[in-house]
Symmetry: C2
Subunit: 149 residues, 2 copies
């Protein structure tokens, strides 16, 4: 049996499979009971105001959710796509775009996981917070579809 | 009086002020009565399925709206930021992410422009379609704020 993918595998997967993540300087930081965390420096994702570009912030949030599902499903050949998403920008990001995919409620995750296992396809809504200096800079929500590859 | 910015100026502005747009291969294609059009190749914005990465598609759509406002306001020192946005992904993008910011209704634009001129700040909701082979691949909507710099 192949070992479960690690944080390093997740980062490698992003950099190989979604090449723009290299230019964005994306790093996978954590995956624990608080969620799945990715970061990208504003220096590589800046806008005309020298703060985080909204498009990059949205992309980093999307990647946090991808990674959460990819590691959460513990399967290397899962394909995750985003079906729809929305984001609210509350304050500028100045140094680091840090996106935390929040774990869904246990019963919601269990239902998603069971459907994915049974049918090879399932969808789930995930929430991602972009935080800096203890404050939420952006709130993201997306509907994600996972398919067995 | 400084001449109004051109398509070339808009592309140069993006590449200089939002550096990730260079890695994305963003190009400004058109600005006419049908809207403001930007493109980026899937080759530089691909995901694990070799189609357009959702985060890049959203970023290209956001940039179409930025450019529409920047050129539409005909002022070099306007600052545009996105306050919130949503996107629906309808089908994969296979070759080129082409985003068209649709012109708002004339009365809506006139009200926005008047408020921007009077108060130096105004907000407007813009719709952007991502199209390929005559079909809409994604529908984006965003609330944008323009400030006189």
């Amino acid at each position: 049996m192949t070992p479960a993918p690690s944080l390093f595998d997740a980062e490698k997967y992003f950099h190989e499979q979604i090449p723009i993540t290299r230019a964005m300087g994306l790093r996978v930081m954590a995956h624990d009971e608080n969620g799945f965390v990715v970061e990208a420096p504003v220096a590589l994702n800046s806008n005309h105001l020298q703060t985080g570009f909204g498009g990059s912030i949205n992309a980093v949030a999307t990647l946090a959710a991808y990674g959460f599902l990819w590691l959460g499903l513990q399967e290397r050949n899962v394909h995750v796509v985003v079906a729809e998403s929305s984001i609210r920008f509350l304050r500028p990001v100045r140094e680091v775009i840090r996106a935390i995919c929040l774990p869904p409620a246990p019963e919601e995750w269990a239902a998603f996981h069971a459907k994915f296992t049974d049918q090879g396809k399932a969808r789930i809504t995930l929430r991602v917070n972009v935080v800096e200096a203890g404050q939420v800079a952006a709130e993201f929500q997306g509907l994600f579809v996972a398919r067995s590859g």
